[in-house]
């Protein structure tokens, strides 16, 4: 049975799981792009800004499926 989505409570502030997933995904995408820049792998992409968006979407789906269920 998949886990039930629930709000995140930080102190008494309740955060929707989608927000937390989005923030984590943005952080992970930024980290990945930094890494790709550093290793000069970004030159193999035609339009990196779109890749950044795509990575963010992929991370949202991944984190939302396996780590913090949406």
């Amino acid at each position: 049975m998949p886990p039930i989505p629930s709000e995140f409570a930080i102190g008494e502030v309740y955060l929707p799981p989608f927000l937390v997933v989005t923030l984590l995904a943005m952080a992970a995408a930024t980290l990945s792009t930094h890494l790709l820049n550093r290793l000069r792998l970004s030159r193999f992409f035609f339009y990196p800004p779109l890749v950044l968006l795509a990575l963010t979407a992929l991370y949202i789906v991944g984190i939302g499926t396996w780590i913090i269920p949406l």
């Binding site: 929707p16 799981p17 989608f18 927000l19 790709l36 950044l52």
Partner: protein
Amino acid sequence: MLKTLSLGTAVEHTRAIRISDRTRVPLQTGLAMVLAYGVGLAMDWHNLHWAGLAVAVCGLGSVGESLHKGMQRVLGTLVALFLAFVVLNQFIQDRWLFLITLSLWTAFCSYMSMVSARSYFWIVAGFSLPLLTIGGGGPVQTFDVIVLRAQQTLLGVLSFTLVAVLIFPVNSGRTLAGRTTELVSALRDLSREVLSMLSRVTATNASALEPVRLGELRTRATQALGALPALLAAAELDTYRVWESRLAWRAALHDLAQLNRTLERLHQNQKELSAIDLRGHLPGLDTLHAAVDARLQRVIALLPDLGDPEPALPSVRVGDAAAAKINLDLDLQTSDLSSFDRAALALTRQQLDQINRLTVGLRADIEAIATLSKGPADGDEQGDGNRPASPFNIAVLLEPERLRSIVRQQSTFWLAVLCLFYIPDMPLSDITIVIAASLAMSLNLVPQVRPQTLIAPVVVALLFAGGLHLLVMPHLEGFAALATLLFAVTFFISWLFHEPAQAAGKSIGLACFVVVMAVDNQQTYSFITFANLGLGMALTVGFLTLTTYVPLSFRAEDRSIALIARWFRSASWLLGTLGTDAERAEQAQALGFRARLGYHRRLIAQIPQQLATWSRMLSAVAVGSAGPAPMQMLVTTLQAMSMRIEDLLDTRDAPHSPAMARALAEAVREWRLVVRDMLARSAVEPGHLDAAELRARLDGKLLQIEGLMERAMDEDRDFLAHLTLNENSYRLLGAYRGLSERLVGFAQAAGEVDWSRLREPRF
């Protein structure tokens, strides 16, 4: 206002305590904050943070600067206030029409803020419309919100003005005079350097020049020139003498800008003059040098007193010991110079004449300001008095770099709107749209700044203000305790961020403080409001970060490459316009052509400045092992080429010698077309030029034209007939050669740039 000014003047003159600016401005801001909150609470007004924001933003170094910014804030709010009624009346029932209207208005205001000298007025007018219409808590309360906003803004501006006038007042006049003195000193040093260089430039000692020192002087002059128009506008408000002599001040600033530009052009001539004994051919050069120096020294001596409200009138010697004529009857035909040396000499002599005229005019303007007499520029519009208006001049309305910024601003606005509507999980409120519009508009003024850099100051400011709101405020009793807190925090933030370069930090700190504190007579403490505001701000910065890359890229590498390409396209187009007299007469009739000409001329003048800013932001990864130096050199050569193209366009408008045209027309046309093609190709591939090959081709072309000139002198009896017309033609030749020389310089600089690294796709 005059009464207020005289009161301020009186207080200033009776003050005995001296206080540094670092302490004075925070003191005034803190007291104004207390006064604004005190009045607002006494009147039982809500949303007092609007008054606090007005104090935070308008608290500047002097009465005039604060008043100038305050007036822009009040007027911008009033314009938006009127529009808010119209928009609500017309579109309140249609969500999308309503949002499109807001979007168009913010786009218009954002563009105007980038082109107008009163950019703050347009920014306030732009973000105030969404603030008043959707940030007010619903249409039923809108009228009250609009009135309250106007009251609070006026309260904040008036509070600061009152405090600034009564307590340690400082007039902008003194700052204006001080900064102008700095500028004139820099220009004096620059003129000394450049004129000394001209006197001693020969092939053997050309290498002994001091580019570093010159670079520093040019930077000093450019920075001072950029700050003076705003200072003059402020000084007109708080210093009666500056207001009385404002036309002479404006004329003086215009002369200073022209002088800076002419000195820069003169400096660019040194390479072409390397084989000429200038003292021998321009006997008045030393006298001019001394006269220019004496005039600027006189101006520097007069300036410091001019900003005082009631200075002692200086003894002004009317008139000016004119410099000796700069060999105005220079016999260009019979001297022992080659044709291109004559061309360089003709160009230089024209620029020296201009420097002579400008310094005479500047001295007359400053003397007119000193004596409050009628200056030479009074009653006359600005402009180069002696230069006839070109039929090609036309105003430029739209500029591509600014349109790109509008795209980013609109993307941010719509992203915030769509997320608010369609993603219920996002903790966004209607105020997020206002913050997004306001931040994006402000960011457009400095497009090279990365929004990510805002994250740290915003988070720190929010945590600090949140801590005060939740932990300190509940323990305060009465207004005295609240006032102490308001004063202490405002003073601390203003004191900490006292440098002009730290203005953004100060604004963020104070804005977060007054918004998060949410002071009210019926005070409430809500952690969730604070947390939502924090998340909303973080998401707004996130939207801005995203729109910096999508749909248009604002990365330094992309902008640098695009600007270089655009510069070359414009330069190539401009060279294509220099056809025959008949072609140009036909072109001058077409409005569309004149508009394009104005557009491209403006681009080639602006792009090197924009490129200088963007190239400084290039990362170490982007410039590769070569480092930033080749790119900076490349920007310098583009700037030099821009000046040469301007010379070329200006000189082409003058009447030319028919005999010289007959002799050289074909060769010059061929030369122009070759250079045009090179420029066009450089737009696509800037690194393709081979400097050595270019030098050889240029030398060959110079030899060919020399040969044609000698033959024409021997065969054409009209050749020596019209001295003035011949000189115009020589100047044209000099401009062509100058452009070609700079193109060789560009090829050298471009050869050292790692273009493949720069073009490499990067996140």
